[in-house]
Symmetry: C2
Subunit: 514 residues, 2 copies
């Protein structure tokens, strides 16, 4: 058994059975080892951003770690942005990155690069295997790291000779360390705070897509506090029958308004809400200076224990019911295209149990409120702000949930970063409907240019924001990747195309000219 084989066996024994891959020469022995283990499902992506984004989407929908297979420092670089997003989402991902054979490194071959350096810039855990005998135990350590603190980025660097040289065999896997918990006096203080007028409980992490939301809802019902989630959350189960929850929005000004009456803010699985960017003359934080912020439990801590302890302290486990969202579907709009109508169409036609991947940026600002009372679904947001996450994470979500419809809502500028994921959707015949909002530009930058007070917009600036000379043809781009698609420019055509896409059990792309 060589090092690569010992690693695969260790991962399979540890419960990893999906590998998103874009391998190169230094990973050939790993690929060969995969060949002997068909129980590990290998999914090829034609660009590494597709690989790492898929692993993120997979974790969000399963809470299970997938492996990625990447090729040296440049391959890791191509996957960096979606690794960043996965890290910000609290997703557990196990990157396996090939490197030159240890004895070849000193010759500075063309692909020699600082794999450790780039990995450490974004991973929570990085290790380069010293020899073939260490690979299995390093793999077990990497898996444990990826599963620690609720989910982390673990990167194992595999010099080529450690894969092909003899190894002892697989290593046993070990459970991640117990999650940190707040002290009981912190629970008591937080419980007291939640009883105050103007108190808000902000749940996050797994509290947004598990039964923990019920507990949060009972706490809110018992104390009268506001229940509010952040805007960018990795995954939230929402719609009819779920616990009603307010949200923050993207813009700092709106969030300052929303939180202006909040006197006590208890964070449980959520980080402190912050402005996405700093703007001249605007605050970095939406909470007022005299709001008591109680950072009770981060998403990396034991959110389940903490919410239960809070509920116990408040005697909110039984005898009180959360407020649930009731189904309320809008009439299907007709006529000319506009974003408000699109929001209503998406709400009216939402399939039960859909998984919505939202990277719609400016186009989608109305989608979230409009779909609050539609049929029950999961909504996944871009958590790290690095655009190009939507299509890749849809691949991972669709692999994770083959029985659910995955819907991607994406801007055109943003979809261009990782459009190669369309090919993987076609190859794996994934049940994904992709809606591209073609406003033909980086619309957000036009707004941001104003927000930062950069002055009048001239030719150089406009040419940085417009993507209209030439126009991108998304139907052709989809076809090029083996995905069928259509273009619509009025709302009736959208409704028909969207219904068509949802009725299929294969990838389909709709370019919405808006």
């Amino acid at each position: 058994m060589n090092g690569a084989e010992s690693l695969i066996q260790t991962l399979i024994d540890g419960g990893v059975n999906v590998c998103f891959a874009n391998p190169g020469t230094s990973e050939m022995h790993f690929v060969a080892a995969l060949d002997r283990h068909p129980e590990m499902r290998c999914i090829l992506c034609l660009f590494e951003g597709g690989v790492t984004g898929a692993a993120d989407g997979y974790f969000r929908m399963t809470s299970e770690v997938a492996a990625t297979l990447l090729h040296l420092a440049p391959g890791f670089g191509n996957g960096f942005a979606n690794t960043h997003n996965a890290g910000k989402a609290g997703s557990g991902v196990l990157n396996i990155v090939g490197d030159h054979a240890t004895y070849h490194l000193k010759y500075d071959a063309p692909l020699r690069g600082d794999v450790q350096g780039i990995s450490q810039a974004v991973s929570h855990w990085t290790r380069s295997s010293a020899d073939a005998h260490s690979v299995a135990s390093d793999g077990a350590s990497a898996l444990r790291a990826a599963r620690s603190n609720g989910g982390q980025i673990a990167t194992l660097i595999l010099p080529a000779n450690t894969a092909w040289e003899d190894a002892h065999g697989p290593a046993p896997h070990s459970e991640p360390p117990a999650l940190h918990r707040p002290r009981m006096d912190e629970i008591v203080s937080a419980a007291e705070a939640l009883k105050r007028p103007g108190a808000t409980l902000m749940p996050g992490g797994i509290a947004l897509h598990t039964d923990l939301a019920l507990i949060a809802g009972r706490i809110a019902a018992k104390t009268g506090c506001t229940l509010r989630a952040d805007y960018f959350v990795p995954r939230i189960t929402r719609g009819a029958g779920t616990v009603a929850m307010q949200r923050l929005e993207y813009a700092i000004d709106g969030n300052v308004d929303r939180l202006s009456d909040t006197t006590h803010l208890v964070l449980c699985g959520a980080g402190l809400p912050v402005a996405f960017f700093a703007y001249p003359g605007k605050p970095s934080l939406p909470v007022s200076a005299d709001c008591h912020v109680i950072d009770l439990c981060s998403a990396q801590m034991d959110v389940a224990w903490t919410l239960n302890a809070l509920a116990d302290e408040l005697d909110a486990r039984t005898g009180v019911e959360p407020v649930f969202t009731e189904l309320a579907l809008p009439a299907l709009p007709t006529g000319d295209m506009c974003l408000s109508k699109l929001a209503h169409s998406l709400s009216a036609l939402m399939p039960e149990d859909a998984v919505v991947i939202d990277e719609s940026i400016t186009s989608g600002r109305e989608f979230l409120p409009a779909t609050e009372a539609s049929r029950r679904h999961d909504w996944l947001h871009l958590t790290g702000g690095a655009i190009g996450q939507g299509l890749p994470s849809a691949v991972g979500a669709a692999i994770a949930c083959p029985d659910r419809k995955v819907i991607v809502l994406t801007g055109d500028g943003t979809a261009m970063y990782t459009l190669q994921s369309l090919w993987t959707m076609a190859r794996e015949n994934l049940d994904v409907t992709v809606v591209v909002f073609a406003n033909r530009g980086y619309q957000i930058l036009r707004a941001e240019f104003e927000h930062v007070g950069a002055g009048e917009m001239g030719k150089n600036a406009m040419r940085m924001f417009d993507v209209d000379e030439p126009l991108l043809d998304w139907v052709a781009l989809a076809k090029g990747h083996g995905v069928e698609g259509t273009r619509v420019s009025d709302i009736d055509a959208f409704n028909a195309a969207y219904r068509d896409g949802l009725a299929r059990e294969e990838p389909y792309l709709i370019e919405v000219v808006c």
Copy 2:
């Protein structure tokens, strides 16, 4: 004048007049400053790999530094692979990377990342500006760094507030430090070595695309040594009328053969030739153990002075003529498609003064010898091994040389990494003919799987190497980006399409099914 304006003015004063860009919110004040300086040409790329690859191509054809504009750590990540390639090519590139405002960093906003960490993993010089007053002098230092040692990667990180806060004004630019030179006794020893039987002179860097090649040729003519260039070189001027030069090839076995008789190897602008990867049981170096390697002058040193000093020492400056390549065009092939015929077509139809960007990987192994005696042209190779460099660097080369035909020879797998560059070709109406060799897979990995002795190929492996379910439709992909294209599957159709592409003064793509 704010920090951004002071930086732009510094760069323009310093002679930088092209900026390849993919900006975000944190770069809006920089974009606004660009607006007031139309003398800086801004070129939008829809993905950061396009940005950094274009800057590489631009430097290779002009020896001038272009600026890039990137958005935080993930944006740098997307540009990492082609920054790696540019660094390996010895290209000077000045990356400007926006970051959060200094006072906003502590809040860990979604896009907060380790910009310095990822930059340091690939840049020769990294600095984050501390305040607006420092930006201009930091910019001047960055430009000096990018121009040092013949060309380097310099990365200046610009926190948003350092761009929008008041600054004093532009900073004066300063020349890079003098290049290092070998000692005279090293020149004397190298000259002696070149007179020995079995001596080889390996020129590199600027010696391959300037008049320095004549000096190398005279040294070879005078001493009888072999003149041989490495396989992967950033740029070489070749074809009819240029100094005849042998080359290495990709495979280690072939290079071992080629260098088996070499007793003395003098490196002048070139690094020690090494195997691209290590393979079990094969050597890392192609030179024999008893070959005397004289590492006289790296590409980062003063290659011009060194070659001249060598020629002086050997009395080879006058009275001796290099061997020049004579024009020898093959007959235009006809009939069925095969790679050998394609090589002859490319040779027969080579336009005078073309710039060939070669990322054809396996398909192109015969192209280099076949075009040795065609019309004079420049040939640019992928120097860092990170695929996805061809299309982006063609953008930079075409911006650099608007009067020359740029030809991209690219594999299909490799072109998929940065296909977004097609859009920039269309927008800027660049005179580029793109030839995609559609062998529908990572053909190189099939070969490498064998070379590393990974055993029999099974289903998991084959699904990692084949890109044929579904087929990529390159004509549709080109159309999607606004570029006209055609598909050919016999050599006559290729000849016609290639002539058509060459006759245009706009981008055109030919998908060659082979």
